[in-house]
Amino acid sequence: MEDLHRLLEDHDFLKGLSAEQTRVLVACVENRRYRRGEFLLREGQAADVFYLLRVGRVALEIDVPGRGPVQMESLGPNDAVGISSLVPPHREHLDARVVEPVVALAFDGACLRGKMQADPALGYALTARMLAEAYKRLERVRLQRLDVYAGA
């Protein structure tokens, strides 16, 4: 338990939470390992796990009929995967495939949502981090959509 607590405190996403807040989260989390080719998320399935990556890289993919899986973005250490587990209707909208072996903090989505509702300060602190993460990703997508290399 103490090891998990330390892993939570060390993760960039959770930096700034109090020791008590990270201790509350220990009840919801496991440290998991995934091999290359395994999936953290599958499109259409229930979104019940929120991951904080510690090591490795995953590719976020959407399967396009006739083209096969298209990689939208790859994520690595300190990134969050599975934000859908915190947002209704709690369904995955894409696949997350392991490209380089992953070690991640895996939170039970229902447990995490329960902790956030029970403690508004913790809920706000985590929601603010999710928003920052979502905004960072939105900025990247905007730049990708510009297709800046087309005329370069």
């Binding site: 890289r57 590719a59 976020l60 993919e61 083209r67 096969g68 899986p69 298209v70 990689q71 939208m72 973005e73 790859s74 690595g76 495939r97 490209v99 900025e139 990247r140 730049l143 990708q144 510009l146 297709d147 800046v148 290399y149 087309a150 005329g151 370069a152």
Partner: protein, 274 residues
């Protein structure tokens, strides 16, 4: 600077010694131009007789005999250039413009950020750094392209990776499932690498919007604006600061650039239509 010919208006005929196909629309010329010296970041005016002249950065190793240019076939002149072969002759005048401040980076960390065909103007820096590796701290090359098929110097990138794991980090905007590298925009890589912002020099070359996002990421990491250098691109004609085609408010990109320090252009960088 060693000009190829005394008259800056007169191109000197130079033979193409080798053509390398980099991607579907990008190729590299090796030119026989003995005793041609230049600084990393400078450019030449390349003249295809009877067709036209274009400004192209020098992409080779400054300490090698052959002069190299990597060219994307994107306009009428460069498309015509793409049809030339070994033994053909082109006109060269140059080198022109300012250089990357490689010596300024010595003793500290160096971050090279390239997008698309922004890598060729930074390639001479990579060669210099690898030749004098002991003079620099941590060195990173962050390189973004549209797709895996658009990455230039693929073999060389692998060699640099073998020589110094982590030196090149590549990312592409779009890829199929077979690509095992990164997918995403190049400014996002700035947060992936570990460097000391107070003693880091950054050199950026690529589409202007990509450079804007990269500058923001560097400033957010604490790199001072006077330690960030950009290679600007404008339509160049005379290349010697006379005609004004490449004017960038107080600067002529051909004479004062193409390499400009960010703090000197920061006020212009977000302004439209200049």
């Amino acid at each position: 600077m060693a000009m190829l010919g005394v008259d800056p208006w007169r191109p000197r005929p130079v033979r193409i010694a080798r053509v390398r196909r980099e991607t579907q629309d990008v190729f590299t010329w090796e030119l026989d131009a003995p005793r041609f010296t230049y600084e990393p970041g400078q450019f030449n005016m390349l003249y295809l007789f009877g067709v036209g002249e274009v400004a192209i950065s020098i992409s080779g190793d400054p300490e090698r005999e052959r002069l190299e240019h990597t060219i994307r076939a994107v306009g009428s002149v460069t498309r015509a250039m793409a049809s030339l072969a070994r033994g053909d002759t082109v006109g060269v005048r140059g080198p022109y413009g300012s250089a990357w401040p490689v010596h300024e980076a010595e003793g500290g960390d160096l971050l090279l950020v390239a997008g698309g065909v922004g890598l060729p103007p930074l390639r001479p820096v990579v060669h210099q750094v690898l030749r004098h590796r002991e003079r620099f701290g941590r060195v990173f090359l962050l390189y973004g392209a549209r797709s895996p098929g658009d990455l230039v110097y693929r073999r060389e990138l692998e060699q640099w990776q073998k020589r110094e794991p982590g030196l090149p980090r590549c990312t592409v905007d779009h890829a199929g499932a077979g690509w095992r590298g990164r997918v995403g925009v190049v400014p996002a890589l700035v947060d992936e690498v570990s460097f000391d912002p107070a003693r880091t020099v950054a050199m950026i070359c690529g589409p202007e919007v990509m450079m804007r996002f990269t500058v923001r990421a560097l400033l957010a990491r604490g790199v001072a604006s006077e330690r960030i250098h950009l290679s600007m691109e404008r339509n160049m004609k005379c290349a010697i600061g006379l005609c004004g085609h490449c004017q960038y408010v107080p600067y002529f990109v051909c004479r004062d650039g193409p390499v400009l320090r960010f703090d000197r252009v920061a006020g212009l960088f977000d302004r439209r239509e200049i």
